[in-house]
Subunit: 338 residues, 4 copies
């Protein structure tokens, strides 16, 4: 095998995506060559393809960040992995633990499928430090959903949120991060609320263990009613813009709102009094670091958590998969190789 | 002594304030009678006097929350204090530790000088649980500044913020909370930034130990320059409204903005990307609980912290003291009871 | 109903226990009268009966601390409860949240069934602050097991231990605290290890969800084998004495040993190198505070946790129940009233 | 300059130390060549020289871990440093943040001057990841004291201990870690207690800011007296063995004992009741990670902390410096190069 297929973007826009035949890369010193089994797509990938999210991409550019596969070969000096190991990528290759890189003025944007080339290819050769062992209890399609969506929910609820049994958690919608939030929260003994405009999706959320699946209209009042006014301890705010105000109405005293998504806008606004008088915390969540991904992998094996994949697509079907992302999947969209 | 003077509000507005001669109260079971030595005024007191801040006050209403004095007599069953003890009030009488009362829908507003009658009187008789021993190292005028302004800064930086030496702290302006923030941060070995529009006040802030006192215009750029773009770990956001956006520009990666003041508006707004990409925390701070006030009292004695009092007024001069508050004092305004 | 039955101790030793007919108490101001439904016994109760654990008991003395019942009447000024409310006691009546009372030299010993009279009576009249609402999902016999055994395990693992999914937890034996530890840890998504000398009890522990139930002999080596040498993140050390050394052999890097029980001795000893080189934490756990008990109550309802009761006894059968405690029950021993 | 001097151990024991002339090393890819300015010695170095502390040293072996110097040249791919940068070593080269390496069974021993060759040489060539920028406010002799003694005290009090103003801190003796503990605690606004058998050393500790310097005999009773029985919030336990029992007598309710030193023995013992009834924490401290060293460096610059150096020795005088260590210096012993 000397050539492979890889999706390349020649410029911004989905029309510029091409599936090319290119040489299989060689692992350099400290690198591993990974044969891809599956790649999970994120909404962020559609934004990078459209306009780069402010990054000056290096064309031809390969999108996507979340890959699961098997180590096919290792370069000189590699010690963390051996051929045959099942691995997943990390979203921020340089963020191992603790504080991330970057400054107040210039934040760290060195992500896979962003400042770094992405992973929509049959093989990738990357530093061994950029990978984590996949969970033993998941197949590689499932494992591919962890680096971004799984870790984001885990980082918000567990690493930063110190979630404990008996607390209430609310996730907005039924996308990838939301359903991971639901499952992680249930596995910690929390009471879980899901909002959705679709009764069908609410029903499926209940089947996954949600204690309460409520309509998006009037969700704050529903929360008051269902909690006897106590409110929600942890809210995953996935909508953005002025919707933050709603989250601060629903949050409990000393509660926490993790701001993750900005679908409805980049300008947050909210009433100060809800923030002040409830001593609430609003925290920006930006995926997470490698150590937390390793914690999540171990937890997935113990919790027996099965990621929710709405649909699998083949490598050729990436354009259809992106269209599916636009429509809002229930859980994750995964590309499976061969 | 059977009568005393007390400021009463017969209705909203400063014009309705009257200094009356009334009976000295008797301490009931579990209560202590405290002879006032000093009361510190807060900007919030001017708002309560003007419009009650949304509370339905019980007229005649006595304003103010922060009192220092000496126990004159004790009621049945009192065990925490004895006559002669020097004490200060707590702002939220019912909040001893941990989570405050209230729900997501109806927050706890049972503060002194709010839902409860206030303390601008020569004697008060209140439950012993509502007081804390005053610091040994302060006179009672100084001690009167702790329950609200001192505790707010302490709660934001230490109790919630886990401030440590070497971190950077920025306070906005030179009011009571800001100067406590400055002094507490210096006593923890932090690098302190103060913003002010007045060079005179900046000079006085430097004299108090501020490492950097910078103009309010262009303060974010000044922070970038002075920190080599690293930004600020803890910001006490005392302005409110759209100014939160500035704080999120200046905050460091993993930094924290404590939202305390809303002088410029109750509608917060900010760019989501600064929150997200820097994993910043925004937290509402609402004074604090009794245990933290006890911690602050001990710390004041050890740190040898001397609160900054801009000016003392007599009990008759309360109207002039309120006018001074309007103009923005440098530190605290204190009423001393001869 | 004007009289009731109550167990009284006329002096130290079980032989001094008598079931007496005494007047039903009246609730004073701030007190509630609770009609007992069940009382859970603890190993500590046998020690108090034998020798008072160093306390100078006030004879006649009623033992036991853990009661569940229904509010029968309320005294003046009671606001937290109404007649008909289902409640449980708190072990340390004065410890509401945060730091407990006491000093370095003289620790706080004001517990129910210790410095305070205990609860083995058909009615008790105690301050409303000494009770917490019982979980809705438990009957009162189950609820009676929470104040001491349930809270101890929760306080060690959750309140102090910040347990999270994917971590490993080991409990020693199958007594009340151990089985609560097992159940709470499983409800948080942890991997649970139980040690026991009895294959029958190991089998029952597995049925309760334990991932690994191992023999007490050679348990450290079994842990190494089952964790690929990684060790245990949270150990509930229920044996005491030199057994702490074993726990420090088995604990993971950065792991935590909660010292709870001292069955095998009051003199702890261990190798410093295991403590130092693994940066391990050893923490004394002394039941817990009221706020944590309220958290546990909410968690029990959400987790659907059912306490394990080995056997119920009637009020007359207290001596037999104490004998059962000596033999080491599987879970809790509960006295049920009529 | 092609040759340099280096201390080599040909076998265990100080008699086997030789100052040799050897080639200056070349920095390989990713390495920096550092010209030594100063090396601080630790008591641990004397143990490694005597018997290796259980490690199978690779002879000829160069001892010591704490070096400060200037980057003389850089290898391929180096990005963190440039020639001329002032740097200090890290004690655990592989421990960047979070949890350290190693397992429950086999702890990580990969330290400089231990499993790795040490730094008592005029030049060292080591991976750039093994260095941290030196504080701007210290000369290189002072900076050399941070990697081990400074970081140990910081890690115990600040990183793990979350020290805050107003708390009490006790350090045992006046060695390097103890005096760093004293200075760091004072810079955080803590009340500091030092024990020493020498009135001269107590006087010098007071001059450094200790609030109370007390005799080693009867120190627990002195603590009770000086704190009105409250006890100590943070104790740096530097003696070891049965002395832990004393620390647990003196510790405050909810207090913390950081076990660091084992001069008097490797077998810890203490009364369980002090641990249990005071909910005390005992934590092993093993220097610390690189991120904490970076935090300490920043804090040193802000706090204006000046490490206490008892005496400087030249490179030839290493044997005399080791003898000084045996006698117990006041603060640190530093080797200065030319």
């Amino acid at each position: 095998m000397t050539t492979m297929r890889r999706w390349d973007l020649s410029g911004f826009g989905r029309g510029s995506l091409q599936l090319k035949q290119v040489p299989v890369p060689e692992p350099g010193p400290g690198q591993v060559l990974v044969k891809a089994a599956a790649a999970a797509l994120n909404y962020r990938d559609t934004l990078v393809i459209e306009h780069g999210m402010g990054l000056a991409l290096d064309f031809p550019f390969t999108p996507a960040s979340d890959l699961a596969g098997t180590v096919a070969a290792i370069g000189d000096g590699v010690t963390r992995f051996r051929p045959g190991d099942r691995v997943i990528t990390t979203f921020f290759p340089g963020w191992v633990d603790g504080r991330s890189a970057g400054s107040a003025k210039t934040v760290d944007a060195t992500t896979l499928g962003g400042a770094h080339q992405g992973v929509l290819a049959e093989y990738v050769a990357l530093p061994e430090e950029w990978f984590v062992a996949a969970p033993r209890s998941l197949d590689l399609a499932e494992a591919s959903t962890l680096p971004c969506a799984g870790l984001t929910a885990w980082f918000a609820l567990v690493e930063r949120g110190q979630l404990r049994a008996g607390q209430s958690v609310l996730v907005q919608g039924t996308g990838g991060v939301a359903l991971f939030g639901l499952q992680i929260a249930k596995a910690h003994g929390a009471e879980v609320f899901v909002t959705s405009a679709s009764e069908d999706k609410r029903e499926r959320a209940r089947a996954l263990g949600a204690d309460h699946a409520i309509d998006r209209d009037g969700w704050v009042e529903a929360v008051y009613r269902l909690t006897a006014d106590r409110g929600i301890d942890h809210i995953l705010e996935l909508v953005g813009g002025a919707h933050l105000a709603k989250a601060l109405e629903a949050v409990a005293v000393d509660g926490r709102v993790s701001v993750i998504g900005v679908i409805e806008g980049y300008d947050l606004s909210a009433a100060a009094m809800n923030l002040l008088l409830k001593s609430a915390t609003v925290q920006g969540i930006r995926v997470g670091h490698r150590r937390a991904l390793e914690d999540l992998v171990r937890a997935v094996d113990v919790m027996k958590l099965k990621p929710v994949i709405d649909r699998h697509y083949t490598l050729e079907e990436v354009p259809a998969a992106l269209n599916h992302l636009d429509r809002g999947p229930f859980g994750k969209i995964v590309i499976t190789f061969d």
